[in-house]
């Protein structure tokens, strides 16, 4: 057996470069050549680790989700997770989360056509929904259907606010304030 390399590590580095390009210039600027050049490797190497472009894009989505999870986890690192903290952590407030949000947005359209990407979006949505429902239960004393519906509401609201912030329609502070306004009005809320 020849030269030993960490395949997963190579793929991860390529995917990171891909996401950087996608965040900076959009998915349409992502090509095998561009990714290779930006990563400082040859086109052949990219081809060596991904059978085709779609596989590369799908991998980039998969590892993006890991990043988002880490982002939320970091936002609620200290103390037990807090509903407001988690929601605000989903907003694109700093450069890093803004980049992530941009990349996710760039992939949204792909999700309409690519079932595998759609599945990852769906899984991310469900996971977040369940986590939020659990927090709603814990903090507001709601359970079952009510908690689930409140979680849907919160998720939709936060997603809409995140888009508004990305597009510059609202500032991050305004978005956080609006989340607070909504939370204050929840039954059982403080």
């Amino acid at each position: 057996m020849p030269k030993v390399v960490d395949h997963e590590e190579r793929r991860r580095r390529i995917a990171e470069t891909l996401r950087r390009i996608a965040a900076d210039e959009g998915l349409e600027a992502v090509s095998l050549g561009q990714v290779a050049a930006a990563a400082g490797i040859s086109k052949g190497q990219v081809q060596h680790y991904f059978p085709n472009k779609d596989a590369m894009l799908r991998y980039a989505v998969r590892t993006l989700r890991d990043q988002v999870e880490r982002q939320v986890a970091a936002g609620a690192a200290d103390a037990p997770p807090d509903l407001r903290t988690v929601l605000v952590a989903l907003l694109p407030l700093d450069d890093e989360s803004r980049t992530e949000a941009l990349v996710a947005n760039a992939f949204v359209w792909r999700a309409f056509k690519d079932d595998e990407i759609a599945a990852w979006f769906r899984a991310g949505y469900e996971q977040l929904r369940e986590a939020l429902a659990a927090l709603v239960e814990a903090e507001l004393g709601l359970a079952g259907l009510d908690a689930a519906r409140e979680a849907d509401l919160l998720l939709a609201l936060t997603a809409g606010l995140a888009d508004a912030v990305l597009l510059g329609h609202r500032t991050g502070d305004e978005a956080a304030e609006l989340i607070d306004l909504h939370l204050r009005r929840l039954p059982g809320g403080r």
Copy 2:
């Protein structure tokens, strides 16, 4: 002067074809050749009416906004406009509004890079925001900052729900129900 044609009509027809392609296959499938072929005209004719591809895309966005306005106006055609009716009209519930939402979504990323497209998105947002604020004032008796903030909340929530419906995370009925749940909780609400 030679053959007389309605330039605006030609451009409108081209833009409609462009949006159809964008809704079906995404913005990346939009090319001069594809648009021309789908519209049953020659590539040269498309070039005759638009100086370049970007101008064509911008025109398609501009006339898309007209469509959305007509959609909302039609949704609230009879009787004085009703807050709930307007919000639900913004959801992608039928094929037509789903197509519009898909096209708008396809253009969102362009708005990050193209200032003219961004301006149209911004203008649409502000217009909707003001209309909603007026409805909030009329129906809930709120005024000024409160009405504006409630409008922001409603707009973000509806946008988030629209995306969730588009991605198949929620059904249209569920989204409408969630809007009702939120409205029921507003101060001054019925």
